[in-house]
């Protein structure tokens, strides 16, 4: 069974067709990158998957369960949260400034209960360790942590529900280059250990290549092309993908005269 199945997905904001007839699958344990420029609709797709926006038409299924309509009641909402989680670009605005990293993760563990206090403490230690935070960092509040450490907290919090799908919405875009590499390595490790499926939303083709098996190129809400990551990026079938690829500065790239 696919981790995520999206069919004929559409979203209108008044007359604006933000997402137009988008289809994609993410196999269990797979990793799909959605790339596109501003206004391509990539974040709107992420928001619909999480349930922050409602599709105008089309279907979204995660682990075979439909989520194209709002959850009915808390049981369904909790189930959805245990299936799919999201990590945002800026952990500073998505974490509670009053809460230590441990408290932020513990809150999620409490809510998705079924564990005794000692089991919870053990799981908490595991999560903190898994994302590479030290014991001291885990007790610090967001403002005393660096951007990379805060993003580790956000990842630990997302992992706390035990999801099978992680949506990463520009999750490494705001980080310093050396920290971005650490988080990309961490995300690759987590996927290898847990078999989680990733949906990475990014404007950065190199980051997508590093983390994803498949890629979907989006422009003005429409799929330009999709397929194997290496194939699409090395041998794009569409002019737009070629232009995106050619615009990335690499060694020997000179500004067009």
């Amino acid at each position: 069974m696919n981790a995520v199945e999206v069919r004929s997905l559409n979203k209108f904001f008044k007359a604006h067709h933000a997402v137009a007839d988008v289809d994609f699958d993410i196999p269990a344990g797979g990793s799909l990158g959605i790339v596109g420029e501003s206004g391509s609709g990539k974040t709107t797709i992420a928001r619909m998957l999480v349930g922050l926006e409602c599709p105008t038409s089309g279907s979204i299924a995660v682990l075979g369960r439909d989520r194209s309509r709002p959850a009915r009641g808390s049981t369904e909402r909790n189930t959805r949260a245990q299936e799919l989680q999201i990590v945002f670009q800026d952990p500073y605005t998505s974490l509670d400034p009053q809460q230590s990293a441990r408290a932020a993760v513990d809150e999620v563990l409490r809510h998705h209960g079924g564990r005794s206090a000692s089991e919870r403490a053990q799981r908490l230690d595991e999560l903190v360790d898994q994302v590479g935070l030290t014991v001291r960092q885990a007790l610090a509040r967001p403002r005393d942590l660096s951007g990379g450490q805060r993003q580790r907290v956000a990842i630990a919090r997302a992992l706390a529900t035990g999801p099978r799908v992680l949506v990463l919405d520009e999750a490494v875009s705001a980080l310093d280059v050396s920290i971005q590499a650490q988080i990309l390595n961490l995300l690759a490790d987590i996927r290898a250990e847990t078999g989680l499926a990733y949906l990475l939303i990014s404007h950065d083709l190199a980051v997508v290549r590093q983390l994803c098996d498949t890629v979907l190129v989006l422009r003005r809400g429409r799929v330009v092309e999709q397929g194997d990551c290496g194939q699409v990026l090395d041998d794009p079938a569409e002019e737009y993908t070629r232009a995106l690829r050619a615009a990335v500065p690499v060694q020997g790239w000179r500004v067009a005269v």
Binding site: E37, V177, A181, Q182, A206, R209, Q210, V248, V255, V257
Partner: protein
């Protein structure tokens, strides 16, 4: 043809006064020379001091910050300029382009008013002539239908278009030096390519100098002739853009190169640098990079390294010769076994 540098920084240091009466160093002795028409990239992560350098050059430091050392523009000391000289320096000497054009333009005024304000005020041009000049410069930065754009408000145009408007506004003052502080970071890659191409063409055509600040090493290499890599308020490596990929010698520069994923291949693992970047005031007495460096010895932690010539560039690393020899050995033995 004068051989006088356009811009010269010597031992530029910036300290920040803290609320408790202490002081924090953000820039720790920067030496840089830029010839007219040359493009220099300043590359670094958070806390490296790259943006503070631009602020110091333009004398736009926040009130709590003080600069020491010397900044000379065309041989004149910037610190001792009086109000009139400073005005002339900022209007026709240096031009500044920022990351977020929307934060630097008045949203209640039309683009035409924004572009002509300085021309009319400082240069005494009439409205018609100023508008005609603004229109010509908008065309020069690749904007279609410039007459219509002049009548629009900033919020009616895209971010990429507005950044071109900002570049046009800088060009109208005909500066000899452009300071571009992450000018394309907020833009899409295809727009970024257009904007850097425009900057590059104008720089060549007009013979302007440019200091290009970015966190993107590959972008700096594409735009600039020389690249200075900064860490904790100091330059750790300076060399020509074309030789940097091949010859990067400082462990931090090499770490930065290894940190970026490649577009044409997936690395089994990125060679991430451990820890996080620090500011100058957080650094120890020795090499600021030592705590994150795989090659650091105890001496590195106590003795501050000097910027010394190495392999055609300048490198601030006490162990650079040894590290280089090790690397060459490894490469030769790999080739021998292959």
């Amino acid at each position: 043809m004068s051989t006088e540098p356009l811009l010269e920084l010597s031992s530029l240091t910036v300290d920040f006064a803290t609320e408790d009466g202490g002081s924090r160093t953000l820039l720790a002795g920067l030496d840089l020379t830029l010839a007219p028409g040359e493009a220099l990239g300043l590359v670094g992560e958070s806390g490296s001091g790259k943006s503070m350098t631009v602020r110091a050059i333009t004398r736009l430091l926040p009130p709590a910050a003080t600069a020491r050392g010397a900044i000379r523009f065309e041989g004149r000391d910037v610190a001792s300029m009086d109000a009139a000289a400073l005005r002339a320096y900022r209007d026709g000497g240096v031009g500044l382009i920022f990351q977020d054009p929307r934060a630097h333009i008045n949203p209640t005024k039309r683009i035409g008013a924004f572009l002509t304000e300085a021309l009319r005020h400082n240069r005494g041009l009439g409205r018609g002539e100023a508008l005609a000049r603004a229109e010509a410069v908008l065309a020069e930065v690749g904007i279609d239908d410039p007459a219509r754009r002049l009548r629009q408000y900033p919020q009616e145009v895209s971010g990429g278009m507005l950044q071109r408007v900002m570049i046009a506004s800088v060009l109208l003052a005909e500066p000899r030096l452009i300071l571009a502080d992450e000018p394309t970071t907020a833009l899409d890659v295809t727009i970024q390519r257009e904007v850097v191409a425009i900057l590059d063409r104008l720089r060549r055509e007009r013979g302007m100098g440019m200091v290009f600040i970015t966190h993107d090493l590959d972008l700096a290499l594409a735009v600039c002739g020389q690249v200075a890599v900064m860490y904790a308020g100091r330059i750790v490596e300076l060399r020509s853009a074309e030789s940097l990929h091949e010859r990067a010698a400082h462990p931090y520069t090499r770490g930065l190169l290894g940190s970026r994923p490649a577009i044409d291949a997936r690395a089994p693992r990125l060679t991430a640098i451990p820890g996080r970047p620090v500011s100058a005031f957080e650094a120890g007495p020795g090499c600021a990079f030592a705590p994150r460096c795989a090659f650091a010895t105890r001496a590195c932690e106590s003795e501050p390294p000097q910027l010394v010539p190495f392999e055609g560039g300048l490198v601030r690393c006490a162990r650079v010769e040894e590290i280089h020899a090790e690397r060459t050995d490894k490469r030769t033995s790999k080739e021998a076994t292959a």
